[in-house]
Symmetry: C2
Subunit: 335 residues, 2 copies
DNA sequence: CTGAAAGCGCTTACAG
DNA sequence: CTGAAAGCGCTTACAG
């Protein structure tokens, strides 16, 4: 068995109270008893039991992170950012894959409660009433990343999706494009779906281009698989397009694959701009121009905010993160 | 504060012992006391405190997972597989990003020990003497995924790298290629580096093709960045090549980007086969033919084995996982 | 500077 | 079928 505080106390000939004090760098012991205790600790290879500490301190030094899909490229950088600051600030992270079933979500929420995590980071999904209710009952800080809630007062860190989409489309327009199609994710999605379409429309409008619904194509999600065949569909509806804005990088890459199949050259014959700036954006051929969400930084910031809430006990302001365009090689200037 | 077992005991007018029994589905209570207790639990919204349970049971129902890079595509599927079975079997996972610094690794090992995780899954890195020593002192089950140790007796689940590389190169040969180059990762890496080169050499030899070191190019890692420019280098050393075996998908995709830059058409002018079958393999243009490691299944299996060890208390046999080739579109038949 | 004791929220013999 | 009590490994007043 692992040695306990009792073992070191015995070995050092002091009470467990003073061992505890030394461990926690409080005061109330002489230099030489400290020395004796440290010696005993080293000899025994003693490591404090964080479970016992957690029980009494009511702090487990761990935070829970909820992902709809832990293995997506989208989650990857957020996770890394969170891990980075959590670790630096003495916390570990338990990661939860909630999938699409609300079931799994509720299971995990309950689990995180039983495990008494100190806080929760909730990524890119929508907060339902049930989720909010249990979250609230847990009475621990929560921060949202890459999502937000209109109904419930939870701090979030995210990009302004409408604005970002607006920027992406405006960029295309600046490059001389006026016949711009869009491949959208689920329009019923109020966080990442509709706002991007609205941004697209607004950019057109502000530049005197009228919206044409034949230039818009919708698929139920944002994944590579969802995007398959969408470019064909778009071009079938409306042959006369010089550029397309895809609502995610995976959708964009999917469109590039479709273009390749159809023998359409990107960007010579068709410009494409994505959204996200996933790792795959640099790996695509040619490299994808895209609207970047700084996912890694968003992860870091969300963890910072959460841990701040933990120390101050106060809630924190939401943060709209600036987006920007990463120019690579899929958008061509046109007259 | 969260209600405790004491609160429900009081409310139901029983002792905490019987509440505990009911919670743990043991026997020793009447149907109607159970009913009363369940009622109290519901009314209070009581959730057992897993920290207290962990302290007394000496089981935290959590396992630690160590990744050199949590955010890599390689980690993604392994993580998902582990999460899947861990969750199904009532365990949560704390994920650790160890980076390249051995430092971070030791920190995390200590942390996992203090948190008293029930077991550890160690992925795709090499076990040093120091790691092994601390792992051993923790006296908990460990399983290795996508790596192994020759020096230390730790069960692993992985593909046979040499054999897999052999298969990939043999596939190229079957397709009629005889002038086959290789882009290798770090040759000093005894797990994923050298064995793949050995497999390459052996496949050549067994097919009566002599190895030519001008057809081999080495880069310090397996990432997309590491691969940049390697195809140029290879072709400069030896122009006369019809196919290349890349030691990872990222390296392969990198080579495809290089080929694109150089105006070389894949697979018409040059065939490429990768290794791993990451998500990016299907997304590349054209889709990448590759030697697949079933990462998701390997993740699942490693968790199964770890949890089995936890229940049986016995160590478990290592598993060599079968690999296979996913034929997509980057390898062309040749005469 | 130091220790005895209570307590965190549970589980588990032990006794009835 | 049920409860009182000890104990898991710590921290923290409290008292000296």
């Amino acid at each position: 068995m692992n040695p306990t505080i009792k073992d070191v106390a015995k070995k050092a000939n002091v009470s467990i109270a003073t061992v505890s004090r030394i461990l926690n760098e409080q005061k109330g012991y002489s230099a030489k008893t400290k020395e004796r205790v440290m010696e005993a600790i080293n000899e025994l290879g003693y490591q404090p039991n964080a479970v016992a500490r957690g029980l009494i301190n009511k702090r487990t030094q761990t935070i829970g992170i909820l992902f709809p899909d832990v293995s997506s490229m989208f989650s990857a950088d957020i996770l890394k950012g969170i891990e980075e600051v959590a670790h630096n600030r003495g916390h570990s992270i338990v990661v939860c894959h909630t999938g699409e079933s609300g079931n799994r979500m509720m299971e995990y929420l309950q689990l995180l409660n039983e495990k008494r995590v100190d806080g929760i980071i909730f990524t890119s999904a929508v907060i339902t009433e049930a989720y909010y209710k249990t979250l609230k009952e847990m009475k621990i800080p929560v921060v949202l990343v890459a999502t937000q809630s209109y109904r419930f007062p939870l701090p979030y860190v995210k990009v302004d999706d409408k604005h970002a989409a607006y920027s992406a489309v405006s960029y295309l327009i600046q490059k001389g494009h006026r016949k711009i199609g869009m491949i959208s994710g689920d329009m019923a999605d109020k966080i990442a779906g509709r706002p991007r379409v609205e941004g697209y429309k607004q950019a057109l409008e502000d530049h005197g281009i009228s919206f044409d619904e034949k230039k818009l194509v919708v698929t139920p999600g944002f994944s590579f698989e969802n995007g398959s065949g969408m470019l064909q569909k778009l071009l079938k509806q409306e042959r006369d397009i010089t550029a397309v804005f895809a609502a995610s990088d995976e959708l964009a890459v999917s469109a590039m694959s479709d273009a390749f199949e159809m023998g359409i050259h990107v960007p010579e014959e068709l410009s494409i701009i994505g959204y996200d700036n996933l790792k795959v954006a640099e790996m695509s051929i040619p490299p994808l121009t895209t609207l970047a969400q700084p996912l890694y930084e968003m992860g870091k910031l969300s963890a910072e905010l959460l841990l701040d809430m933990l120390v101050t006990g106060e809630t924190v302001e939401s943060r709209i993160i600036p987006h920007n365009i990463i120019e690579r090689k899929t958008v061509k200037k046109v007259n």
